[in-house]
């Protein structure tokens, strides 16, 4: 059942990457093709079932990516030219390349130390930079969301519910505060385990 989940995540990623580049990187085709190849590779990886990432961590990452791409950059055209968009896309690109190289070489059983080192060290800079890019983008989108009232439902309506996308975005931004450190420290712990062979006593429940 976890394989199915991994496959589903891979397929979603595949379509997501396609969407990203169609809407934003019209000029950067090399990257587009590069990414498409890697996305295909991931599907193969998933079929073999070698993705070791925990489902929850992967789930959080994938949903935040889908959210950023489809609910922010795709839907809110005015912000597509923001520098912050380029910022997080670059971070994502580098992260994915590193990650997939890591998986590929692990599969081939010939993992150069540099790749392993990169996977467990790049994130130290990339994660915070990516978060800054994402947050700045959402922040830039706020005025447009408020003005247009997009994705929102107002009262009265026969289902007696309302939804304000503007406040939803504010809450999302606030949720980075508890979520990001958890992911970050999780990666740091993984790093200590893998690179320094530290035995980490997990808190059991």
């Amino acid at each position: 059942s976890s394989r199915w989940l991994v496959l589903a995540i891979a397929m979603v990623r595949f379509y997501m990457e396609k969407g990203t580049h169609k809407g934003l990187y019209k000029s950067i085709q090399k990257t587009l093709k590069f990414f498409q190849t890697f996305a295909l590779l991931e599907i193969v990886h998933c079929l073999i079932g070698i993705v070791p990432t925990s489902v929850i961590v992967a789930g959080v990452q994938v949903s935040s990516r889908i959210f950023m791409v489809w609910l922010i950059t795709h839907s809110i055209k005015p912000i597509q030219n923001e520098e912050s968009v380029v910022l997080f896309l670059v971070v994502w690109t580098v992260t994915e390349i590193t990650r997939y190289s890591f998986y590929t070489f692990s599969l081939l059983d010939h993992l150069p130390y540099f790749i392993k080192w990169a996977r467990y060290n790049f994130f130290i800079i990339l994660y915070p930079v990516g978060v800054v890019g994402e947050l700045l983008t959402i922040y830039a989108a706020l005025p447009y969301v408020k003005k247009t009232g997009m994705f929102s439902i107002r009262l009265p309506n026969k289902y007696n519910v309302s939804f304000d996308y503007y406040y939803f975005l504010l809450i999302t931004m606030a949720s980075y505060i508890p979520l990001f450190p958890q992911l970050y420290f999780h990666m740091l712990r993984q790093r200590r385990k893998v690179l320094h062979g530290e035995v980490i006593v997990e808190k059991d429940d």
Binding site: L155, P156, K158, Y159, N160, V161, S162
Partner: protein, 344 residues
């Protein structure tokens, strides 16, 4: 907890061999048969660090785990019995309070591994808090207390009958739950971890506020099919509340006061309990039914979402309960499903 020993403890023996009837402190005259019981020693180690935390000697073989826990609390008062988990194996299951020392696979020195379960809080306290919240919070919205809706609506009353009806139903539901907690339910566990109260209260109180906000809103829209819809929904709600209460009473009667015995529940003369023929946990079935009724009555999406989340959680619980019934009773009725007849 001291034991009152009818015979004096005379030996610090660590062997199973009974001592000769005439050895000992000689309080009674020679020729008196004195039964010297084997005495056990107990050591308690930390399950993670294996550090020796406590050593008890002169422990009666018929002592229970509960008594051992009380003795342990004396040396470590911060670990009251409810937060102690004692096991024979560091990674094994917790021993029950009723387990008797000599019936366990231990030698003359029993070794137990201790795990701190964290701060504990009684089930009754948690239930009372998590149910009193929604009762009170809903009323704040019903009476349109200031700062919720615009100031021109402060302390006004809705012109829709269904809104008043909904308040009665919601309040009745939680008053019923509070009374059941105080007078009906018999809990098999005394306590739960403290962090649960924060989690549970956030869930109950949060959803109550969210639902109440829309139902009591000045811009509330009554159900599409009007009085017909409301009457039908009310009937569903009332039937399911009666059903839920009947099941709680039936479950209570299964278990005499103070005992922890478990038996298969069966239908009684009360027609509402006949659902036991088809379902292991009809109390959950009726509870979901009540909320579906309430959702139809108010035609409010947050209520529907609350019902859905509740249904998901109760299904998980029902499946667990069903599984443990099957494990414990060989003759468990095969027709029964966990929560939805024939389906789930």
């Amino acid at each position: 907890m001291e034991h009152h020993h009818p015979t004096p403890l005379t030996l610090e023996s660590s062997g199973w061999a009974p001592s000769w009837p005439w050895s000992g402190s000689g309080e009674k005259g020679p020729g008196t048969l004195r039964i010297c019981r084997t005495i056990l020693q107990v050591e308690i180690l930390d399950a993670k660090t294996r550090e020796k935390l406590c050593f008890l000697d002169k422990v009666e073989p018929h002592a229970t785990i509960a008594e051992i826990k009380n003795l342990f609390t004396k040396t470590h008062p911060q670990w009251y019995p409810a937060r102690q988990s004692l096991r024979l194996d560091p990674k094994g299951k917790s021993l029950k309070d009723e387990d008797v020392l000599q019936k366990l696979p231990v030698g003359t020195t029993a070794t137990f591994y201790f795990r701190d379960l964290g701060a504990q809080i009684s089930w009754v306290t948690v239930f009372l808090t998590e149910y009193a919240g929604p009762l009170f919070i809903y009323l704040l919205f019903y009476f349109r207390v200031p700062f919720i809706y615009g100031h021109k609506y402060d302390f006004t009353s809705s012109r829709h009958t269904v809104v008043h009806l909904a308040c009665i139903c919601h309040s009745f539901h939680y008053v019923k739950r509070l009374l059941e907690t105080l007078f009906v339910h018999r809990f098999s566990h005394g306590t739960m971890p403290l962090r649960n109260i924060f989690k549970n209260c956030t869930y109950y109180w949060g959803f109550a506020a969210w639902m109440a906000y829309y139902i009591n809103h000045p811009l509330y829209t009554p159900p599409t099919y009007g009085a017909q819809q409301v009457k039908l929904a009310l009937a569903i709600f009332v039937i399911c509340q009666l059903g839920n209460f009947s099941i709680h009473m039936a479950l209570r009667d299964l278990r005499p006061a103070g005992s922890k015995t478990r038996k298969i529940p069966y239908p009684t003369k009360n027609p509402f309990t006949w659902l036991f023929l088809l379902v292991s946990c009809p109390n959950y079935t009726y509870e979901v039914g009540s909320w579906i009724g309430f959702a139809i009555m108010t035609q409010c999406v947050p209520v529907a979402l609350f019902s859905l989340v509740g249904f998901t959680q109760m299904t998980i619980w029902a499946k667990g309960k069903h599984r443990s019934y099957l494990k414990e009773f060989r003759d468990y009725p095969p027709l029964r499903m966990p929560i939805i007849p024939f389906l789930l």
